[in-house]
């Protein structure tokens, strides 16, 4: 085969392969939603995090504002310490309420932030004091059974 046709076909092959990689990164993967903007770190203590994992999303009013970066067990309080990094564009009041929520019935868990009314804003390294733990299905069923048993028999 002629040299230039060969070059052309190999060029098409390489371009198609790289285009497929870019398409995978942008359309299939999350590279397009990677925010390169700066973040600040806050942490919060939860008595139970349920199935929350590192890299879980943090949403406020349904909008993605950050990611969970680290989850450890604090052995002084025996509570889960969740470190979150939040986009610098979104500032939250000091008395913001952090809540572990589930998307859908069996979906993955995320942290929902409900802003309070404080005039002062959260700064890097500060703690979210008001939290609510994840709903654990077994606890709910247990509570339901107890309340059923406590009802007077008809």
């Amino acid at each position: 085969m002629e040299r230039t046709t060969l070059d052309l076909w190999v060029g098409i092959f390489v371009v198609a392969g790289i285009a497929a990689l870019v398409m995978l990164a942008m359309k299939v993967g999350n590279l397009s939603t990677y925010n390169v903007s700066e973040t600040y770190q806050v942490h919060a203590y939860f008595s139970n995090i349920g199935g929350l994992k590192a890299k879980a999303s943090i949403k406020s009013a349904g909008v993605l504002v950050g990611r969970v970066t680290d989850i450890t067990l604090d052995t002084e309080r025996y509570e889960a310490k969740v470190v979150m990094s939040i986009d610098k564009r979104y500032q939250f009041p000091k008395d913001t309420f952090a809540n572990i929520l589930t998307s859908g019935l069996l979906g993955e868990q995320y942290i929902g932030l409900m802003p309070g009314g404080d005039a002062e804003m959260l700064k890097n390294g500060e703690q979210l004091k008001k939290t609510q733990s994840a709903m654990v299905l077994e606890d709910l069923i247990g509570k339901f059974l107890y309340s059923k048993a406590a009802e007077p028999a008809k």
Binding site: M1, R3, L6, D7, W9, V10, I12, F13, V14, A16, G17, I18, A20, L21, M23, L24, A25, K27, V28, G29, N30, L31, S32, T33, Y34, K55, S57, L106
Partner: protein
């Protein structure tokens, strides 16, 4: 004594296997050492890229399309039972990008391009072209082996990426266009679940490893083949069998290293 004979046979095979692995490693290192000439004469690599990469395009694209379509159908049937059809995109994309893309593309590559490489080099050896080159003081590893090796290593990740990309569209076609899964949730859940570094880059690393292993096996078998018609045919068979097994075993090890830790 038949028992001793059997044990002797096992010993002989074990020694032979170790010896071949050692030779293949030496061959691989020699290839790397003489790669410089291949890069200086880049048109040699381009010629090989054409015969390994471009000629494999059709089989890769068609196979990727059908694998994606089957994944879409089967995934839908299973996910429907749990009422989570919207996660179809996640299943198709993760299955393809992490496993099926690199592995199936490498298996196809081994049987399409690897066997051709072995047969070509084996036949070159049988017709004494390699000895003729050595006679003319041309290093056959630099002239024949290194360009083929680099063409294989370059084209494998590209082919795997194409396989995955086409497969995702196959899954999209069956899931969204034919069955009617919601298009928005198909793509958005996929994007939320597939991580660029964790999933896509690990898939690329896998296919790089597979490309290296498949081409080294194919080239070594060709170079090592007895210079007879029977020898070349045996070497071609061995290339496909050994590289397929190597791909599947390495895939298990790589998966355990990449995704098994956490």
């Amino acid at each position: 004594m038949p028992a001793i004979k059997t044990i002797k046979g096992i010993g002989h095979r074990a020694i032979n296997a170790v010896w071949r692995i050692g030779m293949a490693t030496r061959f691989f290192l020699l290839t790397l050492r003489y790669s410089g000439t291949g890069f200086r004469r880049f048109h040699l690599i381009i010629k090989e890229l054409f015969s390994t990469g471009v000629m494999s395009l059709i089989i890769i694209v068609v196979a990727g399309l059908f694998v994606g379509m089957v994944l879409g159908l089967q995934g839908y049937e299973t996910l429907k039972r749990y009422g989570s059809e919207s996660a179809l995109g996640v299943m198709v994309a993760l299955g393809l990008v992490r496993e099926l893309g690199p592995v199936v593309a490498a298996l196809l590559f081994a049987s399409r391009a690897g066997s051709a490489m072995t047969a070509e080099i084996g036949l070159m050896k049988a017709t004494e072209q390699i000895s003729a080159m050595e006679m003319m003081a041309v290093n056959p590893i630099a002239r024949i082996v290194a360009p083929r090796f680099w063409a294989g290593v370059i084209s494998m990740p590209l082919l795997a990426a194409l396989f995955s990309a086409v497969g995702v569209f196959g899954g999209y076609f069956v899931g969204v266009v034919q069955i009617g899964v919601d298009e928005g949730s198909f793509w958005s859940q996929m994007q939320a679940a597939v991580d660029f570094r964790e999933d896509i880059m690990n898939g690329v690393i896998k296919s790089l490893v597979f490309g290296t292993v498949v081409t080294v096996i194919a080239l070594f078998e060709g170079f090592d083949a007895p210079p007879t018609a029977e020898g070349v045919s045996g070497a071609t068979t061995r290339t496909v069998v050994t590289s397929s097994l190597a791909i599947l075993m390495l895939d298990f090890i790589l998966t355990a290293m990449m995704f098994g830790g956490s």
